[in-house]
Symmetry: C2
Subunit: 164 residues, 2 copies
Amino acid sequence: MTPDATSRWEVSPIGVVHSPFRSQEDIPRQPAFAGSRATGTVMVFARYTAGLADLEGFERIWLVCWLDRAREPRMRVTPYLETKERGLFSTRSPNRPNPIGISPVRLLRREDAVLHVADLDLLDGTPVLDIKPYVPRIDAFPDSGEGWIRHRNDLPKGPGHEAT
Amino acid sequence: MTPDATSRWEVSPIGVVHSPFRSQEDIPRQPAFAGSRATGTVMVFARYTAGLADLEGFERIWLVCWLDRAREPRMRVTPYLETKERGLFSTRSPNRPNPIGISPVRLLRREDAVLHVADLDLLDGTPVLDIKPYVPRIDAFPDSGEGWIRHRNDLPKGPGHEAT
């Protein structure tokens, strides 16, 4: 059956983020350069910890999160530090119809059900819906054209971007 | 309130994928090299189309999808073409506690509510939960260490990976 605008599914957390950030304003603009200020943990619930095996080898992991403090979305938004309105889906605003965030955090180490991570840009208490390994051959397109965001120079030229 | 394993939220599609793929076996292992075989469209529902403005400038977009034909997850899985079991969260298996996929597809063009995309790895009829611009300075870590997947040579050294 083809899904339509009335279709619904339920999501449920597999764990929770613990971070130093209590509000959106605390989150550094360039988490990859914020060092120990942007470190924290992901506590994974007991029923899911067996699924964490073999994650240690990966330098980065995707945290797919439910941005539980997001506000009602509007389809046109004025991004932070911008003056011109943009279509919501051309921005990374947290206020979206389904407030799902994807964060490629650095995995420092794992202690059983606890993942220690860096380059974190998530609020303390954020529910985690999924964890995936970051695989450059699937996920990394360093030369991909940036659209309206290209003029912004407050975004990191982060680790691994030396060639661009 | 801190989320726990009993917390629940609802997601609802913003659009639907139309692709040539009717079953998992149809999906090319290397969508970035499958050319016109891996092209399709995303039809966005009317209430959300105003949010698509300004997306055109981006070469790639993230499709955050509900993998509606995923099966019950198991915490340990034997990945395709592998013999050793791995922890689920160290794999990209679609069968996950919250079956959410993230696909960095190439945006060919937009016609109002229809996005024409390439490098598609999603089944026909897959519900789309969110669309985000692909921003290399946020998303691309071409040298990130790959863990157990590193020995696999059937993954693409795709566009933008020439330096690795």
